[in-house]
């Protein structure tokens, strides 16, 4: 979890994304309990209703399931659902800005492809 939140973005969205990231990178695993609304509120000093909104959206998307009186838990398919969702927006969130910047700098598509490959080689060395 991040140490603080960004005031420029809706807080409930940031809470939602933090939980999503934790599930994708398995900081919080399947069937584990996520921090409660109050824990989020105390940690980030945010309004509990705002934290609850982020968590509730994840319940609607079947990422989390509520067990009355116990807390919120990560569903069995959570990671899979999230990865599919993130793949769908990958182009828009990462490729679009990448290509726009490349066009601005006069980098061709071929050059871009070369760069993608190059990074991979460097990593292996």
């Amino acid at each position: 979890m991040k140490s603080s939140l960004d005031e420029n973005k809706p807080i409930f969205l940031q809470i939602k994304e933090q939980i999503e990231d934790s599930i994708i990178n398995e900081t919080i695993k399947t069937a584990e309990r996520i921090p409660s609304t109050n824990e989020f509120a105390a940690y980030y000093k945010i309004n509990p209703a705002t934290a609850a909104k982020g968590i509730n959206e994840l319940v609607m998307e079947n990422i989390l399931i509520k067990q009355r009186g116990v807390g919120m838990f990560v569903t069995d398919n959570a990671k899979e659902i999230l990865i599919n969702k993130r793949k769908k927006i990958f182009y828009k969130n990462y490729m679009d800005p990448l290509k726009k910047e490349a066009t601005k700098l006069g980098i061709s598509n071929m050059d871009l492809i070369e760069m993608v490959k190059m990074e991979g080689i460097e990593d292996e060395n």
Binding site: E7, P10, I11, L13, A42, K45, N47, P48, T50
Partner: protein
């Protein structure tokens, strides 16, 4: 408790401190009451607490008028930026008086907070530093557990760690038991994340009442080439603008996503900045 404000006006001689203000606070939430100096915030809080009478219009709390109404005034606790207590009293006397006044008073919380803020029970109010007097105000406000608790710039002279402590305890208390908390401050950046709903007053009028996160979601700062930005914001509601060398940033009601799609740099607008632009007086200019 439900707070209804109906066509409320307050005139001091010929000056309107509040001018025909109407809104409703439906349920227990943490409300941020914001605005520049002289916007009418303190006047509103004084009328709400039953300290002064409105010139016209009214405030109803659960359908009743708070002025001179004991049953209601013991449900409302207003802590101001100073002069909350008689100078000759000792800290322990202050606590005793307020504990008699508020049926909801929490003795344990008061004791804990006195320790937390290192106050001497036998010290007289006039011997306290500004910061210490402010912390006593915070302690009384929190321990009153009044269903309507109002903090009007409560921490003059209070250092950053003590303010952080206050926010922490405020949240803890609010989570254990929901109550209406109205918070008026100029240190907006510090507390805006605590607000569930924001109200902005300007020159005696209400210019905005909105859920804090909805506000963050529905406003954005669009930057780019001046002509392109001008064109983009033509049919949008503009809150403010600033220019630098051929580029412009416009603060508008609109989605960040949409502006980004058009190739602009777009960011959210922190509530503090929103307040500044909304109360600029040159709105949309």
């Amino acid at each position: 408790m439900r707070i209804e404000v109906k066509n409320l006006s307050k005139k001091y001689k010929k000056q309107h401190a509040l001018n025909n203000v109407s809104f409703t606070l439906e349920e227990p939430k943490i409300y941020g009451l914001l605005g520049r100096n002289g916007a009418g915030k303190t006047t509103f809080m004084d009328i709400l607490s039953g300290n002064i009478l409105a010139s016209e219009g009214k405030i109803l709390i659960n359908g009743k008028n708070p002025f001179d109404n004991q049953e209601l005034t013991e449900s409302i606790c207003l802590m101001k930026e100073g002069d909350n207590f008689k100078k000759d009293l000792k800290v322990k006397n202050v606590l005793k008086i307020f504990s008699y006044f508020y049926p909801t008073w929490d003795h344990k919380l008061a004791d804990d907070l006195i320790n937390e803020y290192n106050l001497n029970l036998n010290a007289k109010i006039k011997s306290l530093s500004k910061g210490m007097e402010s912390s006593l105000g915070i302690i009384v406000g929190l321990a009153s557990k009044a269903p309507i608790t109002i903090f009007d710039e409560p921490y003059i002279g209070l250092d950053a760690p003590s303010r952080q402590k206050f926010y922490e305890i405020l949240l803890e208390e609010y989570q254990t038991e929901k109550r209406t908390i109205i918070f008026s401050t100029h240190l907006i950046d510090e507390v805006s994340l605590l607000f569930e709903e924001v109200l902005i007053l300007q020159e005696g009028s209400l210019v905005l009442q909105e859920n804090a996160d909805t506000l963050r979601d529905s406003t954005c700062a669009v930057s780019g080439n001046t002509e392109e930005v001008e064109l983009y914001i033509k049919d949008k509601e503009v809150i403010g603008k600033k220019r630098l060398a051929g580029t412009m940033t416009a603060y508008i009601y609109g989605s960040i996503e949409e502006a980004k799609k058009q190739g602009f740099t777009a960011e959210g607008v922190p509530i503090q900045e929103l307040m500044i632009y909304l109360t600029d007086g040159k709105r949309g200019a």
